[in-house]
Amino acid sequence: MSLLSVVLLMLGAVGYACTDRFERIYTPQGAAHLTIKNMNGDIRVNAWDRKTINVRAITLPPAKVEDRVSGNEFTISVKRHLPPGAASFEVSVPANTSITLSNVMGKIEVNGVAGDVAVDSIDGEIRLQGIRAASVDVKVTAGNIFFEGDLLDGGSCSLQAVKGDIDVTLPAATPFDLNARSLSGAINIGDFINNLMGGSKLRKNVSGTHLRGGARLSLTTFSGRVLLHKK
C-alpha cells in the first residue's frame, strides 16, 4: 500500500467521524410553511418572536441536508443514504408558521407554534407544547405522544400511536368533541368525564361533547393509554 493510500484512508476515517453543519436563515413574506424530512435524529422546533426562520442541523455523514424554497414554502430534506447517518435539527420559526415534520427514528419536539402542525414519524417520542393550532395531525408507530396546548373552535387535533401513550393536557374551559380509542390500554380522561355529554364511555372507546363542543379531538392508540388532563 502506497503512502498516499494510507494518508487517504486516514483522512477518510477522520472525515467519517466528523460532523457537518447545515445552517440557513429564511425570511418569509407572511405566514410560512416549513417541511422537514429527516430519517434518523431529533427535531426540535421552537416558536420565537422574530420574522425569520432559522434552521440549524448537525449531521453525521453520510447524511446530507438539502433545502428548497418556493415562495413561503421551505423544504428541508435529508437525502436517503445507507447507512443512514444522522441529522439533528434545531429550528426557530415565527409562531404562525405551519410545520410538517417527517422522521423515521428520533424524538420530535414542537413548542409554541400556532400554525398547523403535521408530524409523521415511525420510532420516537413526540412532544408538542404550547400549541394553539387549527389543525394538528400526529402519527407515530412506536412512541409516546404528549400534547399540551389549546384547541381552536372548529379545528381538529388528531393524535395516533400504534404502541405508545397519548397524553393530552387542555384548559378546563376548552370545548371539544372527543373520540378517544385504545385497543388494549386504559382511557382516562380525568375530570373531563364529568362534563362529557352524549357519545359512549366504553373500555376501548370514550367519546362525547365537552361543553358546547366544536374542536374535534381524536386520540387513538393501539397499545397504550389515552390520558386527558386539565391544565
Binding site: L82, T141, K163
Partner: protein, 224 residues
C-alpha cells in the same frame, strides 16, 4: 444477558409480552449478537408469513368440513389461530427449545397453507372475512375491495422492503422489525376482536387504521 437466556425470551419479545426491563435487555443483546438476531428473524418470518396468508370464505358446508378436520378445538380463523398459537406460548408455559418452537411454528404454517390451498379449490376469495360466522354485509366500513387493495399494496411494499433489508445496518433492521411487530400485534388483536364481533364499528375502524399503519411503515422503510 447470555444467548441461551435471550433465546428463551425471544418469542415472548416478539409477542410483546416482556416487561420493559426484560425487553430492553433482549434488545441490547440482539443489537450485539448475530446468532440471536438470526433466531429472532426466523421466528419473525414464520409469524409474518402466517399472518400474510390470504383469508378465505368457504361455503357453509365446506367450512364445517374443513373446520372439523383442521381445528375441532377452536372456533377462530386459520389466520388467527396460527397467530394466536404463537402469541400465547408464554401464557401456556410450554417448555420448548427454540428449534422445537421454530419447528412447531413451521408445522402450523404448513397446516395453515394446506388449509388455504384446500379452501382455494372451493370458491371465490373473500379477503375481509376472518372467520366462518361473518357475512360480507356485516363489515360495512371495510369493503372487500378496500381490504384487497390494502393487502395488495402491503405485499408489494413488503417485497420491496425484503429486497432492500439485506443492505440495512443492524440499527435500521432492528427498528423495522420492532415496529413491524407492534403493527402486526395490533392487526392480530383487531382480527381477534372482529372474529368475536364482526359487526363492531370500532373494531373495523381500528383494523382499517392498523392496515394503514402497516402501509405507512412499509412505505417509509421501502425508501431505504
Amino acid at each position: 444477558m447470555f444467548c441461551n437466556q435471550c433465546q428463551e425470551l425471544v418469542s415472548d419479545y416478539i409477542d410483546g409480552a416482556l416487561e420493559l426491563g426484560e425487553q430492553l435487555q433482549v434488545e441490547r443483546h440482539l443489537a450485539d449478537c448475530e446468532a440471536c438476531r438470526a433466531v429472532r428473524d426466523d421466528l419473525l418470518q414464520i409469524v409474518h408469513f402466517s399472518r400474510q396468508l390470504p383469508l378465505q370464505t368457504p361455503s357453509g358446508a365446506v367450512w364445517s368440513r374443513i373446520r372439523s378436520e383442521v381445528d375441532s378445538q377452536q372456533p377462530a380463523s386459520v389466520w388467527y389461530r396460527t397467530a394466536r398459537r404463537l402469541s400465547t406460548m408464554r401464557s401456556r408455559h410450554f417448555d420448548m427449545s427454540i428449534p422445537q418452537l421454530v419447528a412447531s411454528a413451521a408445522a402450523l404454517v404448513i397446516v395453515a397453507s394446506v388449509t388455504v390451498a384446500l379452501l382455494r379449490r372451493q370458491g371465490p376469495v373473500d379477503l375481509t372475512t376472518t372467520g366462518g360466522s361473518a357475512t360480507p354485509q356485516e363489515k360495512s366500513l371495510l369493503s372487500h375491495r378496500d381490504v384487497a387493495q390494502m393487502e395488495e399494496k402491503i405485499n408489494e411494499l413488503a417485497q420491496t422492503v425484503e429486497q432492500r433489508k439485506r443492505t440495512w445496518d443492524p440499527e435500521l433492521r432492528e427498528a423495522f422489525q420492532r415496529n413491524m411487530i407492534y403493527v402486526d400485534q395490533s392487526l392480530a388483536e383487531c382480527h381477534h376482536d372482529l372474529d368475536a364481533n364482526p359487526a363492531d364499528d370500532l373494531s373495523q375502524e381500528l383494523m382499517l387504521g392498523a392496515y394503514r399503519e402497516k402501509m405507512r411503515l412499509l412505505a417509509s422503510f421501502s425508501e431505504f
